[in-house]
Symmetry: C2
Amino acid sequence: VVEAYGQLVAEGYLLARRGSGTRVAERLGPAPRRLETASASLPTPRWDLFAGHGDLTLFPRTAWLRATREVLAELPAARLGYGWPGGAFELREALSERLARARGAATSPEHIVIVSGFLHGLEVLARVLLARGATRIAVEEPGFPLCTAVLRAAGLQTVAVPVDAEGLCVERLEATAVDAVVVTPAHAFPVGVVLTPERRAALLRWAEEHRTLIVEDDYDGEFRYDRGPVGTLQGVSPERVVLAGSVSKTLAPAVRIGWLALPEELVAPAIGARSIGADTAAVGQLALARLIGSGAYDRHLRCCRLRYKRKREALLTAIADHVPGARVHGVAAGLHVVLELPHGAGEVATTRAAAALGLRVYPLALFCAGEPRHAPSLVIGYAGCGEGALRDAIGVLAEAIDRAHADAASDVPALAPRDHAPASSWEGAPASLWAG
Amino acid sequence: VVEAYGQLVAEGYLLARRGSGTRVAERLGPAPRRLETASASLPTPRWDLFAGHGDLTLFPRTAWLRATREVLAELPAARLGYGWPGGAFELREALSERLARARGAATSPEHIVIVSGFLHGLEVLARVLLARGATRIAVEEPGFPLCTAVLRAAGLQTVAVPVDAEGLCVERLEATAVDAVVVTPAHAFPVGVVLTPERRAALLRWAEEHRTLIVEDDYDGEFRYDRGPVGTLQGVSPERVVLAGSVSKTLAPAVRIGWLALPEELVAPAIGARSIGADTAAVGQLALARLIGSGAYDRHLRCCRLRYKRKREALLTAIADHVPGARVHGVAAGLHVVLELPHGAGEVATTRAAAALGLRVYPLALFCAGEPRHAPSLVIGYAGCGEGALRDAIGVLAEAIDRAHADAASDVPALAPRDHAPASSWEGAPASLWAG
């Protein structure tokens, strides 16, 4: 299951190489080739409702180039050497100001460590936890499979704790005897609920009482469409919460910049637990610092919020029109919804039928570490498609659901969960799922 | 010892913030602050003969910006997603062509994995070796302390094998029962000798007979001033040698791009052993691919070779003039020499006396994992200073040596070697060494 998801991420640029049926006219040099894997022969889908990133066509290329030019014009030569492994001060300063303003965080440049993305930060944290004697860490179920994979590969045991309509079932943490928990309070991934105020308070109480650590995965906290963003837990309890974020959803995964806002005593261990030299290039860090400092980053986010809000509305309208029996779960936030299939349609059968029609969708079972207990559902990412393409895709999905009803028998077993190390997460995906 | 070196690297941009006494006029935002460490209070030296990188003022900013602009203008949006974790195809293709042409390597884009620098690549290789059952790896003595630190932190035992006038003592490998060796055949670091043809052949024979792996650290193989560069071992035996390189010496450490050219069966394991998401930004990878493809990288290297050759000559002249009793070791290559001190001058005493005069130098003992057995020597990096500054610095060194003679008793014990994990390599340097 996790392998499948890893494969999707690994293939991000391949899967989406065509924009909803439109060929990309220009190429940068020859097309990227890749090593043979199980799914190398998968057809490129006409529509791909991947939830892993935003609309990559919105990347602010002009602003990024301008910031790069300014950095290169002004950077003292000595700054082109080996930088401070915790990250450039200017970026940590810009982030600390912005996280306070936009996310209600309580941090400082000295408490922030720059990493190459959320999962890289999580690996660093796992090493820090292990060095402090931790052995077990709780994760959300359903959740983010690569999160579980990274933690296990680092040597931690993961304990899946259910997420219900109020978010993570905090009362279940008591029985787990874990040393830490990874949680998505602002918008649970993938089920899309918000951790209720009561649960937030209970979670912080639990961490305080047991001297445990909360890792707050703020993956899409910038995107809320019906109200202001939910503030971070970290701002309430900076000594018990690590706030982990990145620009993978706000700018693009290819930027490879993320951050950890840490309690004081974890800063030096986190810097030490990084791989030596696995830093992000200084020019990129400083360009991002400029983008934030100049307000261009906030302007870009306002533009994104408007676009994604409209895309979400287009998606909901298309679902109401084409799949009236389906239910949509999750608050008006982020880059995806969970679509509960009409009665009788199986996840895997629908996914396969959709693949045969040129549409790639993702069963909710892919996001479950244990035996799936949910009603058959799909995780639908809507940020990467245009509004017209979204309507077309949902029309095709309706047809796939009809076809799947006729073949519901073949459901579920293909997705039996299994253990996994990320060393092989790019290999051996259940290609049959999308083989069409 | 290793901690000290780590600290130097960590502080690279701080140590060299002033160019040989000249203040940097422009600043990018506020000066970088840093967390308190043992050596945070060290005075900034007037001259710093650090051997860890080239002349950072030569970084081709205009060409880099142009390449970045071209990449941003042409890159399909989908390439801003999660890329292939082994690195952008265009860069692997450009490197494979160039490594064949300039370094005699025998590889292909499919055999290259992009990493964030040599030490990051070494950590990846250590994980691959461990997963294949390896336990012990040989390193050069004297050698690169952070190389040892990374291998140990990954869980391998390191075995220090001496380097003599003919390079690594290959016959000593037989007795070590190691599974692999890290070696610098073109220009042994730091002692500066070239592995002789007989030793090269013996090393390859050893690897073939014992089915072991040679990790070829090609850190400064591009810089040879008296003849063409020594070709790589990898080109002779691509199935037994991993060629590891980076642009840290040729462009700048801040670029954070390196590579592994691997035997076929190690490619997939190496990709799997990377931290998920700890990639270099795609735009940077593609900018480097353009720089190589356009010939700008080769032009830059020709310019660097000319400058460094002149700096080396200026250094040797200054040493002959000011420190006539000293002997210089190492072929005409790279970015540093080993300076054997005149009779009676101790490494540590000289280093301390120099620090008091505003000159930072590096005792050879810093590069020894075991008990130092060499004549008292300094590793002198000459690439980062201008020719005039080099002459001034060597004049100051002569004075420091005179002062050190009077105080040779305080030598050596301060540098007793000890075990180390890179988690703390940025902390606890023996600041007293350079406290002046």
